[in-house]
Amino acid sequence: MLAAAQTTANDGLMLNQFLLLGAVLFCIGVYGVLARRNAVMVLMSIELILNAVNINLLAFGALSGDIAGAVFALFVIAVAAAEVGVGLAIVLIIYRNRHSVDLNDVDAMKG
């Protein structure tokens, strides 16, 4: 009953449009993280994943009429910027020490 009343009040776009787009983008990013050998490409795939998360946060924020979704999307963007800065610094050190950014070469901790 409550759900029916809510459906008549909300007659905009489907919520699932945004959630499914986010899910597809997330899974493309997961594929990139698992399948790529170049460390910079893995960082790019992580950015895809973070964008998918942001779409979900904003969609649920719009659904519940709460600004918290947008606030946390901004925090995710800030954390992504920090992550890329430190991540690229680490990649540069790996390149300086090994003259390669191939993640298969970074196996010093393999038993």
């Binding site: 499914l20 997961v30 698992l34 895809l48 719009a62 659904l63 800030a78 890329v84 390149y95």
Partner: protein, 181 residues
């Protein structure tokens, strides 16, 4: 519960805009993870970010959209291109960008999208967003509501994020400088 992605009273212009953006985003994202050229992957990634900006605008989050342009397209992509150039990746085609066992990643991703898609359709089926998403602001724009929220209710998380950014900046400089002993 079956989900209909286009109901009769759905906003037509917004739907067309959304599906155009979604097609661009998914196509460019697939190109990012499959192309054999590192620089081209970075440029496809810019298309993904630009498409996501449009999706944010559809959700009436104009401040987040502008921040995405400034931070992602402006700053992060320049960092990425610097990373590509500094690690001297070959500019042309590079056949060694993908693992030999890439199909494990593909299987994981397909399984994940099937499970997540089923769960989402099952849980949210026909739920709709409010037609006027601007309704979340009591007065003025969403940006005003957002700034009020950040600088009152979410002040401490905001300060924590600024400390994190400072720490990441110092950490990146310490890691990347050449004369560290």
């Amino acid at each position: 519960m079956t989900a209909t992605l286009l109901a009769t009273d759905t906003p037509i212009a917004q739907s067309i805009f959304f599906y155009l953006l979604a097609a661009v985003i998914v196509a460019a994202a697939v190109a990012v993870v499959t192309t054999k050229n590192v620089v081209r992957a970075a440029l496809y990634l810019i298309s993904v970010f630009a498409g996501v900006v449009g999706v944010y605008l559809l959700l009436a989050a104009e401040f987040v959209a502008v921040t995405q342009i400034l931070v992602y397209i402006g700053a992060i992509m320049v960092l990425m291109l610097f990373g590509i150039m500094l690690t001297r990746a070959r500019i042309g085609r590079d056949s060694e960008l993908t693992n030999d066992n890439w199909w494990v990643g593909l299987a994981t991703a397909v399984l994940l999208v099937v499970v997540m898609g089923y769960a989402l359709v099952d849980a949210f089926g026909d739920d709709r967003l409010p037609r006027d998403t601007q309704i979340i602001s009591v007065e003025g724009s969403n940006t005003k509501t957002l700034s009020d929220a950040i600088f009152s209710q979410y002040l401490i998380p905001f300060e924590v994020v600024s400390v994190l950014l400072t720490a990441a900046l110092v950490g990146a400089i310490v890691l990347a400088r050449k004369d560290r002993g």
